[in-house]
Symmetry: none
Subunit: 400 residues, 2 copies
């Protein structure tokens, strides 16, 4: 039976959207990696009755809860008081916590404000978690089913305290089973088309299948339990790979370091020592922008004019001539050219699409592709950059 | 009595920490700005019983709930099914939703996978919210005290649907006391430097001051209550404007439509009918990419080589010569050139900085600027694009 963990964040600035709760995602990753099942994140503002209600609920449904925020010195920091009331554990002055807070100020040659004394008050029965990176000590306390850990909300304090003082104790306190996560990184097909490709594969009920679509790619995830037989795991991965075909540009979780589409292209370009020149139209500079930091992109230029649609039949031959011209004038190995047809209205209208033509000139000759791209102008731009790069990726991985 | 709103996000990738829930913060800001009291954010994974329990709880304690995610075509997208069970509203096939999904695929000349049919199933009594930016339609449904709005989790779809289809209806549906929100959009100074500029201004306690820093700009927000005297409001805005000076590129909330830095540049370039040619180095195509859709950017090229640091003294004169050459060869009005000094290590290292030189050649002559840019390679790239554009912006608004 998986151990259930919840994340609870406190702060008015979170619920009003002034800051994004990055702590929750960071803590969840850590918890998942050591084998917890993270089921819920909750953020509430500076409201004591909300806090008390939430703490009482979590105490009944989770095995562990990591809480951040609300331990500061000001009156809107209510977490310790809420814990005291929710768990019937009155606040008690902690001598050692007080000394540590005083030390923090004397180290910085500053007077300790009286309001910081409040941070040394911990709920009865709680275990103090020393804070070597700021003033507020954290604490842990068990109530009903759940072991609660309270940490400051400042990321640098929270992360250090969690990694050094909390994480090492978790495997002793809980019976955790760490599984294996395999991620197929794909480009060129939507979530539902990918689902179609794999929907005849029988997936054992102990293996979790998940999809994550972003603007740049779609990830397909398989989470295997820790006791899953290795051979069967590899067989299932192989089956997925075959069905998904060359939509897959990387598989994460098998030991190799993987990245995004450009990162995978870089592996090949760098190994083979190939340089590239690009002319962009529809991607409008974004293709080059995505390649920053990689030396194989030698030059790139953006040109405004698209080819009029009555010349569609000739586009490819025009592009071919341009590619050869470009290569003749520059000392580069490959040339990647992109053009599109469609007027200004097609470009801007979400409802209309444009036709994009891509030509890749390599040492083995010309490789061409054509795509219909729809959506907002930003989507057209991004797809144009990625689809052009994907032609290069497919060529390099010899899947053309 | 303030109307209570909650945010509810669904997705295994959220609770496992694979992605950070930026949707929740964005939606909260919007809700606070029109007068809601946002009390709680909750994220849960792909677990139907968790979803049902949460929906039932929220229905009793909030007046409005904005839900994102879980509307995709795959089997792990469970939101509509959970709503059906929680609110006793069985799923019904929505003919029009189906046609819209089919249209989405035919626009892209792709076959519609059978699995997308699932997205046209909406709970009985729900009102469909059309999705013009992707496949999954959203929907709204009232249960007990709460009016629920369900939107896809993909940010671009969620944001467009919320702003165009949900936001306009909220003031009619709820009794909200909407104040006046004034936003100073700034570029070129950090949050704390801006804070220094305004920290001697006395701000009445009924006016809320807020900062929002993104990778592209910093917004300073003043939220005035609905009954705040107009003259005093304008006086305070004027005071802020004077102190913040030309860091402000737009003021939102005074009637004029404002956008990002490029949008503001476009207003001037289009009115004056000016064309621009650009050579990028550090921004690596990103400057051109940010200008997609605007006709005044005539051409742009990216060149790999940076000038060696022993030539620093001459950089400006080299750039000046290049700018005049460029203008002579192309039929353009303005030329914007960018170069940087610093080796590959400086570019890649987060701890090191590079020096960027920008030259703008206009009909009134040469305008120059120089910046030290630090941070990750992506930050350097983005700052290079924005700082170069900002030289143009300052020139155009006659603030040079």
């Amino acid at each position: 039976m998986k151990q259930i963990l919840e994340i609870f964040s406190q702060g008015e600035e979170l619920v009003t959207g002034q800051i994004v709760d990055t702590n929750a995602a960071w803590l969840s990753q850590q918890a998942v990696e050591i084998g917890f099942s993270v089921t819920r994140h909750t953020a509430v503002g500076d409201n004591k009755s909300e806090l008390i209600a939430l703490l009482s609920d979590i105490a009944l449904r989770a095995d562990c809860c990591i809480c951040t925020g609300g331990l500061g010195p000001t009156i809107d920091d209510l977490t310790a008081q809420a814990v005291a009331e929710a768990f019937d554990a009155p606040l008690i002055f902690d001598e050692l916590a007080y000394e540590q807070i005083a030390q923090f100020f004397s180290n910085r040659k500053r007077d300790m404000p009286e309001s910081n004394r409040k941070q040394a008050m911990l709920p009865k029965g709680a275990e103090r978690i020393d804070n070597g990176w700021g003033t507020a000590p954290g604490f842990s306390i068990k109530h009903n089913r759940c072991w609660f850990v309270f940490l400051p909300g400042v990321p640098v304090e929270m992360k250090n305290m969690f990694q050094q003082r909390v994480l090492p104790s978790l495997p002793h306190r809980f019976s955790l089973e760490q599984g294996t996560l395999i991620t197929f990184k794909t480009f060129g097909a939507g979530e539902s088309a990918l689902q179609e490709l794999i929907n005849t594969i029988e997936i054992p009920s102990s293996v979790q299948l998940g999809f994550r679509a972003s603007t740049d790619d779609v990830h397909i995830k398989l989470l295997f339990p820790s006791d899953y037989p290795k051979q069967q795991m590899l067989a299932l991965i192989d089956d997925f790979s075959k069905r998904l075909g060359d939509f897959v540009f990387a598989i994460d979780g098998l030991g190799e370091v993987t990245g995004d589409l450009v990162f995978e292209i870089d592996k090949q370009m760098t190994t083979r020592n190939i340089t590239l020149g690009v002319i962009e139209t529809l991607s409008h500079g974004l293709l080059a922008a995505k390649c920053i930091g990689y030396d194989w992109l030698f030059s790139s230029s953006y040109q405004q004019s698209s080819i009029k649609s009555d010349a569609v039949m000739d586009v490819m031959s025009v592009l071919e001539t341009m590619a050869y011209e470009y290569k003749k004038n520059c000392v580069i190995d490959y040339v990647l050219l992109q053009f599109y047809t469609g007027d200004k209205d097609c470009l801007h209208s979400k409802e209309k699409s444009v036709e994009m033509y891509v030509v890749l000139l390599t040492d083995t000759g010309l490789h061409k592709t054509r795509h219909t791209i729809a959506g907002s102008i930003q989507r057209k731009q991004n797809q144009a950059a990625l689809l052009s790069l994907d032609l290069l990726r497919r060529y390099l991985s010899a899947k053309l």
